[in-house]
């Protein structure tokens, strides 16, 4: 519509077959006006009731007769004008009714591929395919595709991204996966019970509304405060259980597979060499059981969980598969004793270790967090020292990674920090040499 000439030229040049999304897709768009109205009614209930009583049956019918076909038409047209195609090196998405938008996503730069199936989509037998690319926004998702189509497309994208020959790429199929770990529902439930956040939100949801009732005597205020609090409590307990239910981590030549969810099923794939940092979180109440949670950072991706709960040894074994050749350092070196002058008590939680492959830094006293950065993923290293730190001959070393996360070794001895800075710059430079290529199956 905007530039038909350019469009035509592109179509001529690219002899690729363009496909449309699953025909169920327009229905998703049809919900939009309905949700807007519901949102308005919830936001301002008094006003909504007054408006509703004023409406007659005829106006309602007319509104329905206008709104529903308009929404359906809009949904249909957006579906009609959305195309996607897979070429040898790119995934191309063309979309937009008035404002045209063409996204070309380079396959070797893919950081993760997710296939998600919300509950309704599961019933309809469709799935959403989402690609994480650095710097791209959320719009680059294909919703919806048929469930089987989404799976074959994922396999094809990964095969092409891995560097298989273009002719054979769509015949490679799903790479065989080997299951590493499956979280039993019982363990997940216990782990959530032993989490402070669950009880904190629940206590807030139970205590705050009665207090407000005593103070204001207004039902609406109590509801306005209580409902979001109840929602938060539900999300942090039941919601997390439902989302993390049946958490399965598997390994395949295409990378790491994470499958999860009770109602909404999510299948994530992180290709090899995309993990920037791994964090081992150890809440206070889990320590007696020896459980840990493992989080990971991938550039351009919002997903951050690797294992919701697992025994420490198993978690370390999984980490060794995620970051090849990495062992979690068993002992960490603490800051010198005078660090207590800068940060009383809490300095005891800090610690670092440097091995051949990773830079590891721990912080937190009650809830310990150990962050691991492979040397090959370090983007820059910084040494920072304020006046108070200098008085005590201490300094901080920041290690920046590509996922916009900074791992910091705090309160180190100044000379040790300078040594660390120089050594880390050297290691991060050389660490890249034996890293795998972007196209991980291509012959070097």
């Amino acid at each position: 519509m905007t530039a038909p000439g350019v469009d035509g030229a592109v179509r001529e040049k690219a002899a690729v077959t363009e496909r449309r999304l699953h025909p169920v897709t327009p229905l998703r768009r049809a919900w939009a006006p309905v949700t807007v109205i519901i949102g308005w009614a919830l936001h301002d209930p008094d006003q909504a009731q007054r408006q509703l009583t004023r409406l007659t049956t005829t106006t309602l019918l007319i509104a329905l007769a206008v709104f529903v076909p308009a929404a359906a038409l809009y949904g249909f047209l957006t579906w009609w004008f959305t195309h996607f195609a897979v070429t040898d090196t790119e995934l191309r998405i063309r979309t937009g009714l008035l404002y045209r938008r063409a996204a070309h996503i380079r396959l070797e730069r893919i950081q993760a591929v997710d296939v998600t199936q919300p509950l309704l989509a599961r019933i309809a037998g469709v799935a959403k395919l989402k690609l994480d690319v650095i710097g791209a926004d959320k719009k680059d998702e294909l919703a919806f595709l048929g469930a089987d189509e989404a799976r074959t497309l994922r396999a094809e994208l990964l095969a092409r991204a891995a560097g298989f020959a273009p002719e054979t790429a769509h015949e490679v199929g799903e790479a065989p996966a080997q299951e590493l770990l499956r979280t039993p529902p019982g363990v997940l439930a216990v782990s959530l019970v032993l989490t402070g956040a669950t009880w904190g939100t629940l206590a807030a949801a139970l205590c705050v509304p009665p207090l407000i009732w005593l103070a204001t005597d207004s039902v609406w205020t109590v509801l306005a405060v209580g409902l979001p609090l109840l929602g938060a409590a539900g999300a942090s307990s039941v919601g997390r259980f439902v989302a993390e239910y049946d958490w399965t981590v598997a390994e395949s030549p295409d990378g790491l597979r994470i499958d999860r969810g009770l109602l909404d099923r999510v299948h994530e794939t992180v290709p090899p060499g995309r993990v920037q940092t791994v964090r081992i979180v150890e809440p206070l109440l889990w320590r007696r059981r020896g459980w840990v949670r493992v989080e990971l950072d991938v550039a351009g991706s919002a997903n951050s969980m690797l294992l919701p709960v697992a025994p420490r040894e198993i978690a370390e074994a999984v980490i060794a598969r995620v970051l090849p050749g990495v062992t979690v350092p068993p002992s960490l070196s603490r800051p010198p004793r005078r660090a207590g002058r800068c940060l009383p008590l809490w300095w005891r939680g800090y610690g670092i270790a440097v091995t051949d492959t990773v830079f590891a830094s721990r912080h937190g006293l009650l809830r310990r967090r150990l962050a691991l950065v492979p040397h090959a993923k370090v983007q820059s290293v910084r040494l920072a020292q304020g006046p108070w730190r200098r008085a005590w001959r201490l300094a901080d070393v920041h290690v920046d990674t590509g996922a916009n996360k900074t791992v910091t070794a705090r309160l180190r001895d100044a000379e040790e920090a300078a040594e660390l800075l120089r050594g880390q710059a050297e290691r991060s430079r050389t660490g890249r040499r034996d890293a795998r290529p972007d196209r991980w199956m291509a012959q070097p």
């Binding site: 983007q379 820059s380 920072a384 020292q385 304020g386 920046d400 800075l421 880390q424 710059a425």
Partner: protein
């Protein structure tokens, strides 16, 4: 004068060849400082003197004190800025009280930017900024000579291409 540049945290190993900044940045910052605080001093003095009496006009000494303090601090800060091009990485060191030393391997550079605002251009200055995939990397060298800035940009780009490693 005691500055951050003399005792540096890297002293233990091989000393890299540090380059300081040309005096243009110092001139520009002092000029900006003098203009703004001078205007503030004059405005406070005149307004308070006219509307509240000559005693109140003594408040004009406050910005004047800031001006003299700033005059010295700007120089110390300017002296603390320096950078070194090593074989495989760029070092940037800065700060007097809050010191920071940044190391960026050439292979990790995604983009090198040379910027120059109107005031900087008037003083014949340009800044070089390096971007890596990590947004936290804060590697900027301000107040360079435009010729030096362009030389640095070309050299960094060249080295970055030769050693490119990406993410």
């Amino acid at each position: 004068m005691e500055t951050g540049s003399r005792e540096n945290p890297e002293a233990a190993g091989v000393e890299p060849a540090w380059t300081g900044l040309p005096p243009g940045l110092l001139r520009m910052r002092r000029w900006l400082l003098a203009v703004w605080l001078g205007l503030l001093t004059a405005a406070t003095g005149v307004l308070l003197g006219v509307f509240a009496g000559p005693v109140w006009a003594a408040f004009a000494l406050l910005p004047l004190a800031l001006l003299t303090g700033g005059w010295v601090m700007v120089e110390r800060n300017w002296r603390s800025w320096r950078y070194a091009e090593r074989a495989d990485d760029l070092l940037i060191s800065r700060g007097v009280l809050w010191r920071e030393l940044t190391v960026v391997p050439y292979g990790r550079m995604q983009l090198v930017e040379v910027t120059s605002g109107p005031v900087e251009r008037h003083f014949g200055l340009a800044s070089v900024q390096l971007h890596t995939a990590a947004a936290a990397t804060d590697a900027t060298i301000p107040g360079l000579d435009p010729v030096e800035a362009e030389r640095l940009r070309d050299r960094l780009t060249e080295l970055g291409q030769a050693r490119s490693a990406g993410l």
